[in-house]
Symmetry: C2
Subunit: 218 residues, 2 copies
DNA sequence: CGATACATTGAGGAGGGTCAATCCGGGTGG
DNA sequence: CCACCCGGATTGACCCTCCTCAATGTATCG
């Protein structure tokens, strides 16, 4: 088990990120116990049904949380980027599977460490609250928004979370966007085409770059 | 502000409920600070946008958490019954509105109390985890399940949470079930009729009683 | 006993799913 | 350097689930 690399401090400093707001003492203690995990695209961080004894903080890359209905229907529950945390669950076992979207590195914080550290637990609780808040937002989108609105909402969210430049790097394919939004890939593609024809976005290149021409049009 | 009534201890003892698992010391301390709230049907516990400085534990009755898209589209995010907690939010302000489904009584736990009480905070964190877990379940239902499956899932959930007898008291109307499931009232009614004709449930009486004839048929 | 509110049922339409064809870029091998 | 192939995006045509609108049924209340 490696110590928390120094890059963590630099990388995870987003709004409410894991290490942000941690004072020197806390960060030092965390560094001493946090493990290091590296994943390639498609690799599983943890699987549904496996025992949950740790939380993970994303340092680099992206991770998605997936649930399946039967073998065919996949619902992506959340995307997690640098500074986010995954692994919260209920009842000691994971209810969903976490998979890396690309090459990713994470730090692993054993559950036991939180029991010993009230300050860390309080901090993690804030992140847990944000995860709940985001999940509730998704309920609204999935339950009451049209396909066009859902695609726009996703692009706005990613535009905000991944940096609001004139170009957006989508770390996932159309298929993943569809499974996140409760739609079919064809539908997502059609809505993207509509946005392109409306001059809101540019052409979606094969390496995931999407020019955002009119952010207010989302 | 009243002290936490004795009925709380008796009422809130469900799996993972607020007072369940609290030892005598904790419960005693909580009793000293918890406020008391009573609501009639349709009354607002807290509104979206209002500052969030407390958590609420449901003692009697039921509360729902609602979000609106525009003025027309309502999405019900969760139902909360005896033993559940509402009021978790992100960023100091509520993002949704909590409304009583019928006559309800709750206890109010100021946010500040949790800062002073690490044990209470740890306990509340478990409840927060369960709320997240339930919200993720809803994402799966809203994103990947048919109308028939959603209605069955709701009835199964309520049957489990409100006691698994041969009869189920639904504390909400068809309209609320629809707004929870991302459907229209007519669709929910049709699916209920289908279940009735399949002999799975009986007639849905006007006071909310629904006979569950074949629980395995849900 | 009428009025109201809600559940139910029916008929028709639209949004998004399904299936299939085509396009496109990038990798591979000649 | 180019032909070929392969995975994924795009587009089209059709269909089905669920929505919309409207009428009817039914229980509660004044």
């Amino acid at each position: 088990m490696l110590a928390l690399s120094d890059t963590c401090t630099a990388a995870i400093t987003g709004r409410g990120g894991l290490c942000a707001c941690l004072n020197a003492t806390l960060l030092g203690r965390l560094r001493a116990v946090a493990g290091d995990v590296r994943l390639d695209a498609g690799e599983v961080l943890f699987a549904a049904g496996s025992p949950a004894d740790a939380l993970y903080g994303v340092r680099h890359g992206a991770v998605m949380l997936c649930a399946w209905v039967g073998a065919e229907r996949r619902q992506i529950l959340s995307f997690h980027f640098s500074g986010d945390m995954v692994g919260f669950t209920d009842g000691g076992r994971h209810h969903a599977t976490a998979i890396a979207l690309g090459r990713a590195s994470l730090c692993r914080i054993p559950e036991t460490e939180m029991d010993n550290d009230p300050a860390l637990r309080g901090h993690v609780m804030g992140i847990l609250r944000r995860n709940l808040s985001q999940s509730l937002d998704m309920q609204v989108r999935l339950g009451r928004m049209s396909a066009a609105e859902r695609v726009r909402a996703l692009l706005t969210e990613l535009h905000g979370r991944l940096g609001g430049g004139g170009e957006l790097h989508l770390p996932m394919r159309i298929a993943e966007m569809a499974d996140y939004l409760g739609l079919r890939p064809e539908t997502v593609s059609r809505e993207m085409s509509a946005l392109r024809q409306a001059g809101v976005v540019g052409a979606f290149t094969h390496d995931g770059m999407l020019p955002i021409l009119r952010p207010d049009g989302l």
